[in-house]
Amino acid sequence: MEETKQNVTINKAWKLMEDVYDPEIPVLSIIDLGIVRDIQLSNDAIEIFITPTYSGCPVMDVISMNIRIALTENGFKKIKITQQLSPAWTTDWMIENGKEKLKAYGITPPIGKSFDKKYLEELKVECPHCHSLNTKLISQFGSTACKALYQCNDCLEPFDYFKCH
């Protein structure tokens, strides 16, 4: 009985995390990104384990604050947010649904798995505007550390590619 009640609370917290968004890519929730690694409940305190995407990612503090707000607004009192570095975040944790949303937003989602090392070779990156594969890398670092800047050779539009990591 007690255990079920705990599960309900934990599931409620997971559900709430679906409405906490990355301020820099506002179409993705922290669940889509795979930032939330675990949620635990002990002695009425809820503990959220999150992992930073990049070491210098400036939005982690904002995300922590938004998690706190979402939980507080929904009746949680004792909240602990723990940043966990290992295992290191990878784009493989981004859920498929998140990749679709990213594409619809105009950012090409990561291609392949990070561990096959393909992310360091030349890739065929699809233009999110006209779907052409005839694109070129402008810079490995785009508007943020997690993105590279590409340009489409067909429609000539520049676009962001979310790098494999």
Binding site: P52, Y54, S55, G56, C57, P58, L85, S86, P87, A88, W89, T90, S114, L120, I138, S139, Q140, F141, G142, S143, T144, A145, L149, K163, H165
Partner: protein, 252 residues
Amino acid sequence: MENNLFNYTLHLADNSLTMGHRLSEWTGHGPMLEQDIAISNIALDLIGQSRNFYQYAAALKDDSVTEDLLAYLRDAREFKNLLITEIPNGDWAKTIMKLFLFSTYQFCFYQKLIDSSDKQLAAIAEKSLKEVTYHVRWSSEWVIRLGDGTEESNKRIKLAMEEVWPFTGEMFQPAEYESLLINNRISVDVSEIKNDWMGRVKSVLEEATLSYPEDKNTWMQTGGKNGIHTEHLGYLLAEMQFLQRAYPGCEW
């Protein structure tokens, strides 16, 4: 033992912070917008890595020690960074050469630190390695572009090599606090990663039509790991630490 771990963690933090700060000096001054953004992003990665190390170092001490205090309120003599991270940027070629030699070092180094018996250092290494992989790739491409480019770019990258090379010896000479942590597998034995580093550096230089300086008699600068710095670090800290020193405890 405990103090050795603290000093070692500071050494790693200071490396990333000073290099990150130097690179950030290019923000708004890059040769073109895309490269300005790239180098600023690399700077941000490095400063992020240093935060992870400073937070860990602070956690090893009592509550009065914070990451801000370690980064912003220590004097030059207490910094333990490699000298290569503090020397001025010079032109684009020199900045690229510094970053290339240093990132390749970090790449080889973090590959070993991942196996540290200290779980937190291993975790930071795992996280940092992914980022450094991109730094190595980006700076290698630039070394090749400049070396195998125009007469002017080749001249400049060669000069950069001559200027930066004497700062590479220190990477592979352990400080005392570092040596004392090797036996219990906390620290990386840096003398063991030299061959890996040399191989990687050589192959990029070759592609850039540059030669690897084989001369064993080159005078190598040392001291950084033990707090003996060039005069440049003082100026760097004066700017970087200004805010915390003028407005102690300031946050935003």
